[in-house]
Amino acid sequence: MSRYILKRLILAVLTLLVIVFVLFLMLQYMPGSPFNDEKLNAEQVAALKSKYGLDQPVYIRFFKYVSHMVRGDFGLSYNIQKNVPISSMIRGRLPVSIRLGAQAVLLGTLLGLVLGVMAALWHNTFVDTLCTIVSVVGVSVPSFVFAFFLLYNLGFKAGLFPILYKVTLPVSSTVLPTLALSMFPLAQIARFSRTEMLEVLGSDYMLFAESKGLTSFRLHAVHALRNVLIPIITVLAPLIVSLMTGSMVIEKIFSVPGVGSLLVTAIQSNDYNVVVSLTFIYCVMYIGIMLVVDMLYGVIDPRIRLTKENSHEG
């Protein structure tokens, strides 16, 4: 197991290096420069470029950046917050984004699972129809539509939660963005778990388990649920990733001081170092989630458990 993790980690580092290099290349050919102020003349721009090392070839910049990054130095911002180290820009924002994403994934997955399983248990009833409606609406309606709907009804009309993010109210401020973000995973998970539960309920091993005279609870919670969870985990990883990208829009709408809205601004203003470091962080999270998910598989499904004993027996 530890060997497997080590292998995955080495691969992850290589992947990250390639991604950062591709980013450098893409930023190089992006139109515009970080120094767009019309008052600057050509000489001043050249001076600025040489000050930040932007006059050097792309591969040298890449190696310099990586060697700094290894020491925890993500560089300075060029224009969003001039000359402020990016690590200190992110420090306050990252926890807000992670918290928002985690809340949405947790809420969406749990509610989706409950809804999907209930729909399968009461197949072809009102609950089942409701599940289908929720999943169709949740998948097809973009999250910013939900965001405005919630903002208007719960925020503006009912006044239950702040419309825009308030630093003084960090908990209730995340309620609306979390709800808006969780709709998509909720819909996806509900749809998957319903299909999966129906298949499991019709399986031979469920009939055999039923013939043992077990309680209905044990039958569903122990025998069925575990088998339902296996394919759910498969869709969970891409879902989390799509939440990270989806959260950029939601963060903008609710003006959440997270990294998502920062990335959008950075791309618009050619703040190279901010773009590179935020993308890097997203990639680290993505690869990390994939690794965790792959390990979760083994915990839940003994058929792909990576232990010594199994690999010998094939």
Binding site: Y205, L207, A209, S211, K212, G213
Partner: protein, 359 residues
Amino acid sequence: MKRELILRIRDLYISFRTAAGTVNSIRGVNLDLYRGETIAIVGESGSGKSVTMKATMGILSSNGKVNDGVIEFYSKDNENAVTYRILEMSKREIRREISGKRIAMVFQDPMTSLNPTMSIGTQLMEGMRHHDKLSRAEAWKKAVSLLKMVEIPEPEKRMRSYPHQLSGGMRQRVNIAIALSCDPEILICDEPTTALDVTIQAKILELIQNIQKERNLSVIYITHDLGVVSKIADYVSVMYAGKIVEQGTVNEIFYDPRHPYTWGLLSSIPDVTSDQKLFTIPGSPPNLLHPVKGDAFAPRNIYAIGMDYLEEPPMFKITKTHYAATWLLDKRAPKVHMPTSLRARIDKMLREEGTAYDE
């Protein structure tokens, strides 16, 4: 020795709601099982063999409905006789008193009937812990001895294995061990060897027979393999379109079949010594979505007489144990004999086995 009745099914009617309409799958089944004996229920796919047994275990699928009938189970709890009327019990009561505890079932496909995410030990022990309230240690001990009984090598190690680590034959042994874990009085085997290869088949059958003798178990085999039937059964019930059309001792069914459907089934057994084309019964079973008029087998029956299309035949008594539902047995019916090729085959079997069988 006086035979002791353990399971009695009378006039069982079961229907299923489907998208196409109501299917009357079981149309008046009668069945008796005696303690320590083996009956085999044979018939084509869809004839209602499994449905009858699922009703007995209270595990009919949710669109199935028992419309009429009686299923009585004469249990002996430490020599105290208890009668369970299964169709009058709630699902919860059946779960508590019957399924897995007093009547257990082994299913057809060992590859899919174990939960892939749970260890053998957990699946083996959960019945005992649930019904008999054994502690983990007690259940573990009993589970290991059960695995030994079904001849699984290294039982201690296998307790921790998962189904995918065992072969098909091994898994079916595990299934049998699970079924026997709460010391049931009746074991229902739903085509337990169909999915296994022939050499394993024989071993599994032998295993079940040995256990049956040891424990005085009553066994119901559901199968369409007549070869299996001849090896293991004491009594045979032939089912067609939701009814039992002929029942008798294994010798009566194999050597003196009376129903044209049984003739067809017996003629369809492949015979390696014959160079004739393998016989098949023409046509296919009736669609039970529609009501059946007369004998359900009549349209496929070359021996059908006019009466078969008008009215359903009753069970005609041939001997004390042998009954068949065909108008050919009515005293007004023309004398019809079984096909000559089948007659010849039976005569050959009788000669080979040297069994003196007299009517």
